[in-house]
């Protein structure tokens, strides 16, 4: 599945994250950029949470920017899912 437009979900408030999705051209795959105040400790976990949703929704050709301020996994997944639905 591919998205059709740029979309955003979440916020820059503490304990939340902002997810920005931008469509890429067919075949460009998934580019995921994570920026977090706890990047050193949790980059892997954050990426995992994002990719779980991306795979579950069978999304492809998307540029994902995550701006995290210490969100929990469930928050990450909810924000990513919302952003994807807004971008379809």
């Amino acid at each position: 599945m591919r998205i059709t437009r740029q979309a955003r979900a979440g916020s820059l408030e503490s304990s939340d994250l902002m997810v920005i999705l931008k469509p890429l051209k067919q075949g460009e795959g998934i580019i995921l950029e994570v920026n977090s105040i706890v990047k050193n400790q949790y980059e892997g976990r954050i990426k995992q949470a994002v990719m779980d949703v991306v795979k579950q929704m069978k999304l492809d050709d998307v540029y994902i920017i995550v701006q995290d301020r210490g969100a929990l996994d469930c928050t990450i997944k909810a924000r990513v899912e919302t952003a994807i639905k807004r971008a379809l």
Partner: protein, 348 residues
């Protein structure tokens, strides 16, 4: 933040709202820039306690009442501001602040591009970064590693024989020459036209490579007025620009020299050249100032070409620009630009 706080978009048509904002900014020694597009305020008990604005991709006029600092107001303010910028398609965002305030912006995800202590730091946020620009430069590196290259930064509004003279001289004196075309679209000739005319104007020179100036070379025309008094502003802006050039751009391409044309008219450019002369050598880059090419006794400049366009003095224009620029000026595409030149008195 408690619900006693209200966030509001300032209506610029409402003189009362505008005056109240100006008063608040004034108390913080900030001023309201006329190019401001959008302003948010946070109010408590009908009084402004914080504000932030943006113009283009730059966040400016960020001010928080001292009494309320340290309560998470910055994120409450910048979160809706950035969302509005994203809605308007701006996902690469800059902010200028003082080095002592960097920390709060870093927690929101901003990254430092460069700083001039104690005056100013430039930070960026979003989908693009100086790292990506450096990758673009490295991918477009046209000369073998180890080749000593030179650089010229031009606006070319439009490309004249003066530019051609400077570029040709530098290309003869160096193994490789990079031309950066300023991207900031504040000129009468739009960026893609300026870039195209430069490419055509130097097409016959083998060791010249034309690159996009991007957001990191002289793009801070939008420099917010508030960090320093007017007098120091150009100087600080210049130092920051030189810092970015010397720290990131020159090393990525092996640039050892920078050429500039002598500036007979514009004070800002003259100050810029003077500051480069003071600073670049200590960073391992030689600055070479070249006397302007003259035609019939007066130096060729793009502003003079625009003046001739205003006066429909085509015989003279032919002496000032190469054939490629002249062809463009006589094309259909140029008519709307010429119209605009004739109706404005913009310096740029």
């Amino acid at each position: 933040m408690s619900s006693y706080y209200t966030t509001r978009v300032v209506d610029f048509n409402d003189t009362w709202q505008k005056k109240r904002l100006a008063d608040f900014l004034g108390r913080l020694n900030l001023s309201f820039d006329s190019d401001t597009e959008y302003t948010l305020v946070i109010e408590k008990d009908d009084r402004i306690i914080a504000t932030a604005s943006f113009a283009g991709k730059i966040i400016k006029q960020v001010g928080i009442d001292e009494e309320f600092q340290g309560q998470g107001i910055t994120s409450a303010l910048l979160d809706p501001l950035i969302k509005e910028m994203l809605l308007r398609g701006r996902d690469h965002i800059f902010i200028y602040t003082k080095p002592i305030y960097e920390g709060i912006f870093i927690t929101l995800g901003f990254k430092i591009v460069a700083r001039v202590v104690p005056y100013i730091s430039l930070l960026e946020w979003g989908s693009y970064s100086i790292k990506k620009y450096i990758n673009y430069l490295e991918e477009n590196r046209s000369f073998e590693v180890g080749t000593e290259a030179a650089a010229i930064v031009v606006n070319c509004n439009p490309f004249t024989l003066g530019h051609r003279y400077l570029i040709q001289k530098a290309s003869q004196e160096n193994q490789g020459l990079y031309i950066f075309v300023v991207k900031e679209d504040r000129s009468l000739f739009p960026y893609h036209v300026r870039l195209d005319l430069v490419r055509k104007g130097v097409a016959d020179l083998r060791n010249v490579c034309v690159l996009e100036g991007g957001d990191y070379i002289i793009s801070s025309a939008t420099f917010p007025a508030y960090f320093t008094r007017e007098k120091d502003r150009v100087k600080v802006q210049t130092i920051l620009d030189i810092e970015i050039f010397a720290k990131f751009i020159a090393p990525a391409l092996g640039i050892k020299k920078r050429y500039v044309g002598e500036e007979p008219y514009c004070d800002v450019t003259r100050q810029y050249n003077k500051t480069m002369k003071e600073l670049l050598p200590s960073k391992g880059i030689e600055l070479i100032e070249v006397e302007r090419k003259g035609v019939e006794g007066s130096p060729v400049s793009a502003s003079f070409v625009r003046e001739c366009i205003r006066k429909d003095n085509w015989d003279y224009i032919k002496k000032l620009v190469p054939e490629s620029t002249l062809d463009f000026l006589q094309s259909q595409e140029a008519q709307s630009i010429i119209e605009r030149i004739k109706t404005t008195h913009s310096r740029h």
